[in-house]
Amino acid sequence: MQKSARWTYIPLVGIALCFIIPFLIMVFGSLLKMKIPTGNPLLWFSEEVTLDNFAYILKNADFIKWIFNSTVITVIPVFAQMFFAAVLGYIFAKKEFPFKNLIFWAMMAVIMLPSQLLIIPRYIMFSEFGWINTYLPLIVPEIWGILGVFFVKQYMQTLPKDLEEAARIDGAGDFTIFFKIMLPLSKPVIATVGTFAFISNWNDLLTPLIFTTSQDMYPVTVGLASLLTKEGNFGVEMAGSLLSFIPTFLIFLFFQRYFVKGIALSGLK
């Protein structure tokens, strides 16, 4: 295509504004002292700016607990998923053992089934385990995922065999090769796996909605959803939305290039 087609700035800026405005509404809404937004956006400029909404929501002790819960059920699976994606990726890419392909494709097939199929049997299982209203049902099933394994496997298959062979001649075993050679070389793809895991766990609504029933076990998605149905206060809702959005936004800023690469690679979502 022609380099630098100037006219394209017009639609680009126009659409970009449409994309930014909802986020601006969130930011302004959280800062303005009004319960229900006045219809005419121009009137917003005459509204008083205040941090009361944030103060209100942070004084509401549950909200801090929700953020904490989200952090627990996100951070642990993120690191676990990165680790298992790396080590299983290595195993499936570089090791030979019986039924390797069968195991890999069975895992791919089963985990690619719609996740809603798992919700009810898992609900019954976890009720019997006594896991409802604990972190366990939100962490334990999430410690690895086949997509991350697939990413790392694909990536490691492209790494030259010589590296490994040279290390083996020097007497290195699997663990040394994995930790000293494969892991450092695969940092970008492992970061991709981590960013994906972060966003999907932090933003998940349906799973915690089912497995947590007591308010102080809610992650921020479910907590915010409960706020939306009962609060009816625009400023407070936007302050809550903004606070739950900030971690996602920061991760997005730092790891944007991985996301974009990962999305193009994975064909997910």
Binding site: Y90, I103, V110, P114, L117, G240, F245, L268
Partner: protein
């Protein structure tokens, strides 16, 4: 006997050697296989068993045979949920593809700052449905002071009910989803556009083709695998729509936004009909499985994981 003894030691020796050679496989793959069996294989099998049971989690499970499977055929709401989900897909898939392609074409022009635009269009993809729904709820308030209604009034269109109208609610939810995911569609198309060789365009330009002609004769047809891929991916996603229907409309008004997954959730966890909800999960599975088969059949060989 010495030879037997010899073979015995060599067997255990071989076992140890074999373990050493594959230690990493045993140490990590075996626990993961057990995890896979407990949290994936067993629940999948168990879910089929549940479809034959009347089970409300509080009481005992009762075997009812095929009753749950038969009930679905006479359940008007189940059909309505399927119909709503198909309608949602119709509102959602083509606009998402068109907008994604348009955005990809725009950022592929080599403009300065295209990385920033890419980021802006991609931002909703990483934002939770809860946050976007919170904003959307106020944008599309069906009252005179709703923000979109104020804008409509300023161009002379009367106040719309939006989320409280059974004719409009599903369309508003589709709009929300388009906004949420067209950024990822853009990325697929962008990757596709980048893989089209520059020579094709040069040759066309030398032949005097204009932009419009180049788009329809070269770009669009060469993106055919991407079109197909994106169509399947977005339709699989659209059949699983839940969050916005739960957050903004609770399936209403008049069940107009009761989607398959919302209905499954409602049957399972509000009405506590776990057996029946499992049948609904299978309905969803059959639909998505069908879509995946189409994908494999027509596209499997062309998937190019670069």
């Amino acid at each position: 006997m010495p030879p037997q003894n010899h073979s015995k030691t060599s067997f255990s020796k071989r076992l140890i050697l074999n373990f050493k050679k594959h230690a990493i496989v045993y140490v990590f793959l075996i626990p993961i296989l057990i995890h896979f069996a407990i949290f994936y294989l067993y629940p999948i099998g168990f879910s089929l068993y549940i479809t034959f049971m009347k089970w409300s989690i509080i009481g005992e499970a009762e075997f009812v045979g095929l009753q749950n499977w038969i009930n679905i055929f006479s359940d008007e709401l189940a059909w309505k949920a399927i119909r709503n989900t198909v309608l949602f897909s119709l509102y959602f898939i083509v606009p998402t593809m068109a907008l994604g392609l348009a955005l990809a074409l725009l950022i592929n022009q080599g403009n300065k700052g295209s990385a920033v635009f890419k980021g802006v269009f991609f931002l909703p993809v990483v934002t939770s449905f809860v946050v976007i729904s919170a904003i959307w709820a106020w944008l599309f308030r069906g009252t005179e002071d709703g923000l979109v209604n104020v804008l409509l009034q300023s161009v002379g269109i009367e106040t719309q009910l939006f989320l409280s109208s059974s004719a409009q609610a599903l369309i508003v939810l589709a709009g929300l989803s388009i906004f949420k995911v067209c950024g990822s569609t853009m990325i697929y198309y962008y990757a596709g556009l980048q893989s089209i060789p520059e020579e094709y365009y040069e040759a066309a330009r030398i032949d005097g083709a204009n932009r419009w002609k180049i788009f329809w004769k070269i770009t669009f047809p060469l993106l055919l695998p991407i079109h197909f891929y994106v169509a399947i991916i977005t339709s699989i996603g659209s059949f699983q729509i839940f969050d916005s229907a739960f957050l903004l409309t609770s399936g209403g008004p008049n069940y107009s936004t009761t989607t398959i997954v919302y209905y499954l959730y409602h049957q399972g966890f509000t009405s506590l009909r776990l057996g029946y909800a499992s049948v609904l999960a299978y309905v969803l599975f059959f639909i998505i499985f069908g879509l995946s088969l189409i994908q494999k059949r027509y596209f499997g060989r062309e998937v190019d994981y670069k």
